[in-house]
Amino acid sequence: MRSGMIIWVTQMTLPANDGKAGKTEVWQGTLALMVLTTLEALGPQHGFGIARRIEQTSGDRLSVNPGTLYPTLLKLEQEGAITSKWGVSDNGRRARFYQLTRAGRKQLADETRQWETTSDIVARFLAAARVR
C-alpha cells in the first residue's frame, strides 16, 4: 500500500439499517493487510473467523462486508500470498480455511514496514500543524 491509497477509498457508505451508525466500512486497500495480519496471528482460519477477528481488533469500529472480504481473499490467493482448502470448523460446519504462505509472510512484513513509515510521516505533519 502506498500513501496514495489512503485517499483511494471505496465503500465509505454507512450500513443502512442496523443501527450501527458509527461503524465505517473497511477500506478495501487496507483490508488485505488486515487479513494477512489476522492469519499470521491466528494461523489457518475461515472467512467468518477472519471477519470477526478484524472487527474485534478494531474495537468494533470497523464492519467487514462479506461482499468485499471474499473477493479480497480470492485476490490474495491468486497473488500467492495465501492458500485455501475445505475443512471443518469448531461447530462442525463445513468451511474454507485460509493460511499464509511464505510469500505471504514476506508481503506482510514489507507492507507493515511501509505502513509504519507512512503513518510516521503523516503523524509528524499533523503534529507540526497542531503546534501552530
Binding site: D18, G47, F48, P66, Y70, P71, Q78, A95
Partner: protein, 901 residues
Amino acid sequence: MKKIRVALLRLAGMFRLTRSDRDIDEELREHRSMLADEYRRAGFSHAEAQRAAAAKFGSLTSAAEAYRDRRSIPALEQLTADCRYAARSFRQTRMLSTSMILVLALGIGVTTTLVTLFHAVAFRTLPLPDPDRVVKLSLGFAGEVNRRVNGHVAQFSYPELTLYQDSTRALSGVAGFRHERATWFNGGNRRSVAVALVTSNYFKVLQVRPASGRLLTDADRLQPAAVISHRLWNDAFGQDPAVIGTSMLIDRQGYTVIGVAERPFSGTEVDTVDVWVPLDLAAAARGHADRLADASLSWLLAIGRLAPGVSLKSAIAEAGIISPRYDVMHPGQRTTVVVSHAAALDAGLMQSSSDTAKVIGVGAVVVALAAVLLLICTSNAAALLLARAVARQKEIAIRIALGAGRPRVVQQLMTESALLALVAAAVGIVLCTIVFRTTAHLLPISGYFDDFVPDVTVLSFASLAALAATILFGVAPAVYATRVDPLAAIKQESRGLGEQMPASRLRHWLVAGQVAISLILLVVSGLLARGVQHALRVDTGFSLTHLYAITVEVPAGSSALADRANLVRQLSLTLRSMPGLDVGLVSVPPFVGAGLNQARSANMSSTIQVQFNRVDAGYFSTLGVANVAGRSFRSGDDRSQVIVNARLARAFWGDERAAIGQAVTFFDERPAAPTAGAGPRRETEMGFRSGTVIGVVPTLQTLDVGVPDGPTLYLPIVNDDLTDASFVVRSPSRPPLERLTADLARGTDATAGTASLEERVVSKTQPARLASAITVLIGVLTLLVAAVGVYGIVAHSVLSRTHEIGVHIALGAPRARVLRLVLGSSLRAIGSGTAFGITALLIGAFFGSDALAPILFGVGPLDPLALGAVACVLAAIMAAAAYLPARRALGVQPIDALRRI
C-alpha cells in the same frame, strides 16, 4: 510476475477451473449460518437469529456476484455472453443474417482484391535486405545529342557505367544489367526464357543470397557461368540440387549453372528474370561485342546501393559532381545523372511505360469504385440492421427496464455487428484468394500472384475493412435502437406516430446515399465500357483485316545477323511467289514499338525527335495507304531518298505538298570521312546526313491504340540490308502463312511466327477492357445490392407499421392513400438520391475530365442521353423494389392489425 499469475488464474476461472459456483455459494451460506449461530449463542431465538444474520450479512446474491467477478475476467465474460447471444439471434433470423454477411463479404472481398493488386503494382518493395537503400540511376541529355538507343534513351553505355563505378563514393557499388529474351534449347525442347546480362558486382550490390550453389562474382566475369531463378529451378528442374554444374544452351552459347538465387528474388524490374549471365561474356556471345566499347549507346540499366550512412540527397549531390565528366566523353552534349529509389514507380525507365501508366490509372479508378462499393454494402447492411433493431425495440426496452445500462446494450449490438463483419471478412478473404488464383495469368505482373496466399497486406486490409464496416453499419443502428422509452416501447404506444423520427431520417439518408452511389457507379462504368468500345473502333489509318506480321527470330550469336538476313531473303522470295498476297518489308512492324531518331530541316536550328522506320516499296501498298503527295519507294532508291508522314511535313514545312524535294538531316550510317592519325579505316560511320523527301504519307497509328504517330521518317530498305526486316502480309487466309513459316524454321534453331495485327490491337486494349468489365460488374452488383436494400427496408417498414396501416384501412382510406403512406418516404429518398447522384456527376465531370481522359479513349465524360437513360432506369428499378413489398400493405386485414395491440 504476480500480474501474469493473477491474469492466468482469472482466465482459468473463466472456464470454471478454479472455485466452482457451488463452492462459492456454500462458503457464503456457511458464513451466514455461523453468524446466525453466534446470535443464537447470544440468546436470540432461532427465527430472530436468522433474521439478524441476514441483515448483518447483507445480500447473498450480490456477495456471490462480487466473488464471481473476482474469480474470472468480467469484461471477457460479457463479451462471450454477447457473442453467444448474437449467434443465437442470427440463427433465428437466418435469411437476414446470411444476406447481410454475403453483402458485406462482397464489399470487403472486392475491395481487398483490388487494393492488393494496386498495392502490388504501385508499392512493390524489392525482396532484398534494406530495399530502401537500393537506388537506380538514369541519364538525361541536352544539347547536341548523338545517341544510339537499344532500349531506352535514359540507359547507360558500358564506358559511362564504368566511369560512374570508379568515381562514386556515395554508393557502395554500381551494377549494370540488361534484360533480354532468349531461347533455351533443352534436349529437343525450346523454352523462351528471360535472360539478364549483369556486371560481375550485380549480386554483391543487391546483396542477394543463393538458395543453392553460389552467385556470380568478379571471377566469373569472362566465364560462361549462369545463375538460375528459384522459379525456373522449381518449374524446370523440380528443385533438383544436381542442376549445379550442368550446362544450359541459351541461344548459341552454353553456360554452366553455378547456383540458384534465393526464392523471392527474380530481378529488380517488373518483368521477372529466369537466368543471370555475365555481361562481358554474354554480350560477345550474343553477337554484340561492339556494344561494350560504344560510349554513345544507351543499353544498360544501372542500379546501386547507398554506402552505409549516406543519404539519397548526398548521392544526388554527388551525381551532380560526376555528371560533367560525361561531357568530356561526349563533347557538345550535357549529361545529367538522376539518382532515385529503386522501388519507386518510374514509368520512364520501364520498357512499356505507357502501358504501365495506363494500367495504374485504370487500377486507381477501379480501386476507388470498389471502395465505394464497400460503402454501399455497409450502408445496406446498416439499413437492414436498423430495420431489425426497430423490430427488436421491445426486447431492448425490457433489457433496459431490467437494469442494463444503455452503453451495455449498445455494446451488445456492436458485438453483433462485429461478429457479422468478422465472418464477412473471412469470407471476403477466401473470395479474394480464389479470384487471384484463377486470374493470375491475366494480370500484368507476371509471376507475382502465382502462389497467392493472403499475406500481411491482404489480412491487415481485410481487418481494416471489417473494422470500418462494423463502425459504419453498427454504430448508428445501435444508438438509435437504444434511444427508446422503455415503458412506451413495451406498451407499443410509440407506433402511434408511424415511426421514431430519428430512425426514419437515418433510413432516408441511407437509401438516398445508396441510390446516389449506385447511379454514379453505373454511369462511370458505362462510360468506361463505351470508351473501350470507342478504342476498338479507332481508325489506325489502315485496314487491319487479314493483315499479318511475320517475324523471324534467330538465337543471339556472332553469326546471328547474317543467318537472319538469309532467312528473310528466303522468305521474301517464297512470299512474293505466292499468288494473291500483298507483301511488304519493314524494320519495325506496327504495334511492336518505335524506332527513334533525331531530324531537322534546313531552316531549323536544332533537331527534334522523330519516329523512324525502314520500309520497302510494297509496305504502304500492303497496308492500303495511299500517298498524300509525291511517290512511294521503288527499286533503285537508296538512303538519299526519304518519305515523311503528314505530321512531320507540317511541322517542318507547314504543308504536305511543300515537303516534296526538301532536304532532311537525320542520324544514320554515312560514308566515313577520312580519319587523321592512327586507327583502322572504316567505310561507314554513324553521323548526320541528309536526304530528299520524295513522298508524303498520311499520319497513321502504328505505335499504340488511340495514339496517333508523331512526326515519322521512313527510309528505304536497301536490298542487302535485310538484317532487321520483318514482313507485313495481307493474305485472305492464315494457314498457308503458318505452314510457310513452320517449313522455314524446321531443322534450324530459328523461330518464325505469324501474328495477326487485328489480334494484337485487341490485346493492347485488354487492360482497359478488363477494367471496364470489372467496373460494369461492380456497377450492376451495386445496383442489385441497393435494390435489395430498398426492398428490405420497405418490407420491414410495412411490418412494423401494420397496426397503423390497419387503422387507416379501417377508417376507410382508399388503397392508393395507403400505398402513398407506405411508399412516400422511400420514394422521396430515391428521388433525393437520384438528384444527388446527378449533381455529383456534373461536378465530377467539370473538374475531373482531364484526369479520366486517357482511359476514356476520347469519349466525352457526360453524354446527356446516356446519363438521363441510366438515371431513369435506376429510379425505375428502385421504385419497383420499393413497390413490391408495399403491395403487401394493401393486403393487410384491418381486424388482424388492430388485434395486434
